[in-house]
Amino acid sequence: MTRLTLTTEGDQHVIVTRRFAVSPADVYRAHVEPDLIRQWMLGPDGWVMTDCQSEPKPGGKIRFAWSDGGNGGFSLTGEYQMLDPGKRIVHVERMHLPDPTPDNHIETTFTPDGPGTLLTLRMTLPDAATRAAMLETGMEDGMEASYARIDPLLLAVDAG
């Protein structure tokens, strides 16, 4: 069963959807409570979370850090902007690699779906505007083709 989708909306947004078996209230909790976040937000296999701070209130700080167990690792910081418990989270985040990436604005909504939840992440791509500008400067065909293939990211993952 295909449960996760990742699509683009225009050239600025990436939309991720996923269905969960439990209520929006529970899925929401798992997104804001550090004790729950650190159990699942681990990224690729083999990575561990070395820092997990979340202050779910407007202006509250977010700080996550991951390690691959060796020398690899990166962190993410952000701020909550709006929280509607059980329904919606609006926050901004950036990765530190170690230079910070531009702010990524993310709206997470938790919608009742029968007895479960439809989770929707809507994020603003950090480089959308500059990407378009780059194409206008006449990049080589091969590079344009690469970008063109990114645009219709209409792909789904069999998460089962």
């Binding site: 078996a21 690729p44 690899g72 990436t101 950090p126 990407r131």
Partner: protein, 107 residues
């Protein structure tokens, strides 16, 4: 793994450098000329692009000319796939976390 390529692209200066390199190999001096930035600053951007696999450099006497890596941007697709796998793995774990939440613990 790393979103390095994506991060490398998420900067106007680095995109401009890639645009300049689209027309062919260039030295650091040639790349620095159009910018109101110091050569060390440009070199730092080039290093990020190189580490992300988007450009390649060779040694030519005292120069280190840069050119686009042939498959650099195609790896952006790999990044998108990685992101998709990451979300899928995270949410599979979240299913387990949610299944083990104590009943009625939501307040």
């Amino acid at each position: 793994m790393t979103p390095d390529k994506f991060a490398a692209l998420a900067d106007p200066t680095r995109l401009a450098l890639l645009s300049a390199l689209a027309t062919g190999e260039k030295t650091v001096n040639e790349l620095t000329a159009p910018f109101d930035m110091s050569q060390p600053a440009i070199s730092r951007h080039l290093k990020i692009l190189q580490e992300a696999g988007l450009i390649m450099r060779r040694i030519d006497g005292t120069k280190r000319p840069c050119r686009l890596a042939p498959d650099g941007l195609e790896q952006i697709e790999a990044w998108a796939n990685m992101m998709r796998r990451t979300y899928a793995a995270n949410y599979d774990r979240l299913d387990q976390v949610l299944a083990n939440l104590p009943e009625g613990d939501a307040t």
